[in-house]
Amino acid sequence: MKISLPFKTFPGIIVMFLIAFLARGGSDLGLPWWPGLESYFAFSPGAKKIFLDIFHLNHILIAIILGMLAGNIFGLPRWAEPGIQTSRLFIKVGVILLGSLYSVMDLVTLGSTAVIIVVGFITLTLLFTLWLGKKVGMDPPGAATLAAGTAICGVSAVVAAAPAVRAKSADVIHSIATILLFGMASLFIFPFVGKLVALSSHQFGVWAGTGIMNSAQVLAACLIFDPGTAVHPSQSLKTGEIYNLTRVIFLPFAVLFLAIYASRYSLEVDELNVNHGLWSRFPIFVLGFLAVVLLTSFGFLGSTLPPSRELTIIRHLFSWFFAMGLAGQGMQISFAQLRQAGGKPLLVGTAAALFKALLALIVVILFIPRES
């Protein structure tokens, strides 16, 4: 008996849902008895130290790792295959809804110095990573995914850019691994160098908010440099978060730029398209993402601060879509395939990260006053 395609996808979608449920817990679904592995780790001091404080694992990364483990240990059963192949669709819907996090109106409230510095660094890092990726022979989607991660805000930028540039699962995993490795190293190196060159707390915040790639690690490095007190809160954290927020707000523009870049260099053209121009290869779901950014910016989805009920539901939903989609992507990647890609993403990512960190340090020493 022939089963229609939507029904065939159900088993695989349920597998992805179960992995996402294991990673992020069921409190959103009215199932508080399972808080999710992330919260589970937080309860145990040893696990918290290793998984949360050092590796900064969150439910998204846990979903990818669980997917990879399940796929590599148990294999991918035929009955689950059609559903797991929809994983990229889940990520795309998640990226469109992710637009609800960004409001162009937020740009108005940020200082002009932060905007100028951040835009300059995003542009330079994007161009440098794409250039270096091309030099060492990375394929354009892989280089573009890594460029998003190094230039904007790490893991979430990689997740948002990956479908827009048609990256493979291996590109996503490599980019995330590179960013996390650099992020871990920067937790030790940034505060050490900051003390060595005698940066003020404000200057360190600018440097960390510009130079460190992952949001969680910006926060941690700033607190290591200047823990602050209840009376005098950490100045480096305050400044670092402003710069980090500014960088995050520019994600939609970077995704649009990278989508156009990858479309120009894309070798694969959809067979059904007669027109082989840029538009035929442009990932049009990115327009949905930009439309949701505009809807959020002009208040159609309610207030952003504090987030309205509509925005809160949308944000929970995209988090679920990402966890499910990335669990499915993790299931489709083999450890052997990861090894085959070699060290190119690590080399390019590390070079781009060092380039950005050094240049940011020079700019901070030369142009940023010691006090805000």
Partner: protein, 42 residues
């Protein structure tokens, strides 16, 4: 006759949709539907 494989080779990333554009349209439609439902009912 060779037995049917019940597991595929690891590392092959295949897609269920015939074209990438179709997947994009489906993603846009699903997102629009979600937004409409949230705006209407919540």
């Amino acid at each position: 006759m060779a037995p049917e494989k019940d597991r595929r080779t690891r590392g092959e990333e295949t897609q269920i949709f015939p074209t990438e554009r179709l997947e994009d349209y489906l993603a846009l439609s699903l997102a629009a539907l979600i937004l409409i439902i949230i705006l209407l009912f919540f």
